[in-house]
Amino acid sequence: MTPALAVTGLTVSFATDRGVFRAVDGLSFSVAPGETLAIVGESGCGKSVSSLAIMGLLEGNARVGGDLRLAGQDLLAMTPEARRKLRGADMAMIFQEPMTSLNPAFCAGNQIAEVLALHRGLSRHAAYEEAIRALDQVRIPDARRRAAQYPHQLSGGMRQRVMIAMALACRPKLLIADEPTTALDVTVQAQILELLDELKRETGTAIVLITHDLGVVADHAEQVVVMYAGRAVETAPGEAIFTHPEHPYTIGLLGAAPRLDGPRGRLASIEGTVPDPMHRPPGCGFAPRCPFAVAECTVTDPALTMLAPGHAAACLLAPLEAA
Amino acid sequence: MTALLEAYDLVKHFPVRDAIGRKRGAVHAVDGVSLSVAAGETLAIVGESGCGKSTLGRLLLGLIPPDEGQVRFGGEELTQLSPAALRARRRDMQMIFQDPYASLDPRQTVQDAVAEPLRLHRIVPRAGEIARVASLLTRVGLSPEHARRWPHEFSGGQRQRVAIARALASGPRLILGDEPVSALDVSVQAQVIELLRGLISEMGLAFILISHDLGVVRQIADRVAVMYLGRIVEEGPSEALLAAPRHPYTRALRAAVPGGGRRAAPVSGDVPSPINPPSGCRFHTRCPHVEDICRSVVPPLADGVACHLADRLPPFAAVVDRQPNARLVRLQSRFRPQGDAA
């Protein structure tokens, strides 16, 4: 089966006033239809940039390299116009901030209808009716009334549901959800994630779920990519990342999340900050912050190596404490 | 333990005006809240977005006047103070905000930001400012060289450290953190939590933590108050309250935390609008256990919980989180500073 999305060696560089820097460096992964792949990592590690690169939504100062295939089609070889036609139809994206991601000037129904009119060629009226059905599908009660409301009249959870309805309206092959629940309340967050799972099952859409919440990953992802400073440092099946993490960064990350049970103790904290992408030290990017680091780590840049089927880590010391 | 800060029956309603400016109801942001914090104690206020946490925080610090009720700080009634006197009192109570990107004036250097409370309260002479700021920055884990930079040049975690340094600058007795770590990602969040925890115990500060993240609360707080739509629905020592939440809402919050494997959402629906909030128990619209009495009678906060059914609810089925295996615990311990146990 061709993966819904196959990313190979994705690199994104930005030209800025301080020079050119690589925000994403050789990222590879693939997602099968009906599967969820989670990308986790610290803020600024390149999660959003990667997803925007896949969508073709990066700003003019970005250069994208590598190979991106959506259901086998080479995205980077396409004309911008052809890519535009895929957006919203075959691949869709929902963003972190439901408040600002919806246009305050149009009512919810119209914003959804717009996609339908565009990609499915529906008439205004038919598109609107379809939009109401889409709202219904994302479990919005009283969808007809809600459709006529403006974003400011909707709660955060509602707005995110509208975003999801909009993204799924054309049954895309791929849905990228960039931190879809960070801005929401915990009780609502659970509802949204559950909804995404259900929809995935119904439509067979592949989901790339971007988050920095490992709890979310554990509950909802079949596969995980852990990113650090623009690179994948570990990829693993969803469960394995918890039971058997191999990269020190992943381990630190897991220990940093406060837990609700178990002994109340000090959190694992990864001291220091992400290296400045303009002045990346030689060797492993995580070495300066890594409690396991040995001398060689500051010299050799480790490549992602397969440790178990579907589980790879980019660490010279992996497997740590083989057990 | 004598209370440093005490609040009685605080009420704050924001009028909602219609077109001609007539009052058309009110946002019941805070509706009859009483609480107290002692020196050296950390109190957490948790609740969902819009439930009035920030408003309560502002009331406690006298940043806005309450409609009803009183706030006493060190035995002094804040509402009675003149604006100038109140400003002088700010030396003793400081605040840290949620969004480290928004709470530092983008056009002020770190030096100026941290020195500002020193100047305002004339704590050190001008000449001593640089040294003082340097020591504060060091204390929060930044280097004195950072003083010359602008906030936008820092990562979120670093900015929040700057904000903490600023809050510490005047040597307050109370700090209120309004979601001080919610905007940070996990690893940075851990850094900041550890920093705060260290500073609180070291300096014997009273700390009020506003948060919606129970995990964070558990890490720092001695006591927790759970708010729902302007009221406190449950209150108690943090460890006990989180282990065995009694109010259905607290239970829902507790159950909603991801990480325990796939499960159905604990409650349905969104938080209702605080304009004309539901009658009776404000949670009755979403409560799985709702009974008739809940719809009409406001449950009083008795014995740490405000629920008519508190005694009749089934025991809380603790959701078991994925337990880290021994290897993981061992490996993670490498990330904790030396000589540290529980």
Partner: protein, 283 residues
Amino acid sequence: MNADSPRRRALRRFFQHRLAVLGLVVVVVFILAAVLAPWVAPYDPIQTSWTRLRKPPSAAFLFGTDENGRDVFSRVLWGARASLMAGVVSVLAAMLMGVPLGLLAGLAGKWTDALISRIADAMLSVPFLILAIALAAFLGPALENAMLAIAISAAPVFVRLARGMALEARSADWFEAARALGNPPWRTALLHVLPNIVPPLLVQGTLAIAEAIIAEASLSFLGLGQQPPQPSWGSMLNSAQRFLTQAPWMAIYPGVAIFVVVLAFNVFGDGLRDALDPRSQRR
């Protein structure tokens, strides 16, 4: 993090904006021309000659001569003094008046806001001419007073602008943070709000410069601006008005000077705004 100081980075960001630098260069050139006019102007700007009235541009008189036989080029150079003053100083003065009032209105709210806003509304509908004549009579005709009149009539726009921005700032976290630290209101306004509303003020300010330079022309026509025979671009345009067909160069050169200066200030302002905005991420 780059080790550069933020000021240096802002500067560099500015200097990487080629157009803005060009704008700055033009502004500087004009300022230099104004300052150095006595040395760089080929002729005395007020020296009349009855033998070379309204001569078209030539090698000897680059921009031609005017109705009194004076060298238009020299007058454009000297006129830069009055016109730049009228443009820049009066806009600065307008900001000095309007911005604090706008801040006060926006931050104090209630009746202070109502009063200031109503006065600003009223001022916006007072015809410029009435204000100018009344003020000039009150203060006496002189360039400085004309600038004051221009400033006063330009101020209400800045009041509105600053008020709007202040209202926005009031809901920002850093505003609340400043209050929580114990800042008195005036200090919050001046040290925190003011620096944050600079960018939109820059846009409006650079536009207002154009209006001010033209306004000086109408004032000098009324005898309230630059007094004859001293030149200003505006007054040169005024006297050129009688000879638009016979001696078009008399109008064209001061007109072009105004255009170039206005353009330069605007691109310079754009560059400055970007450079001052720490969040701007431009190439």
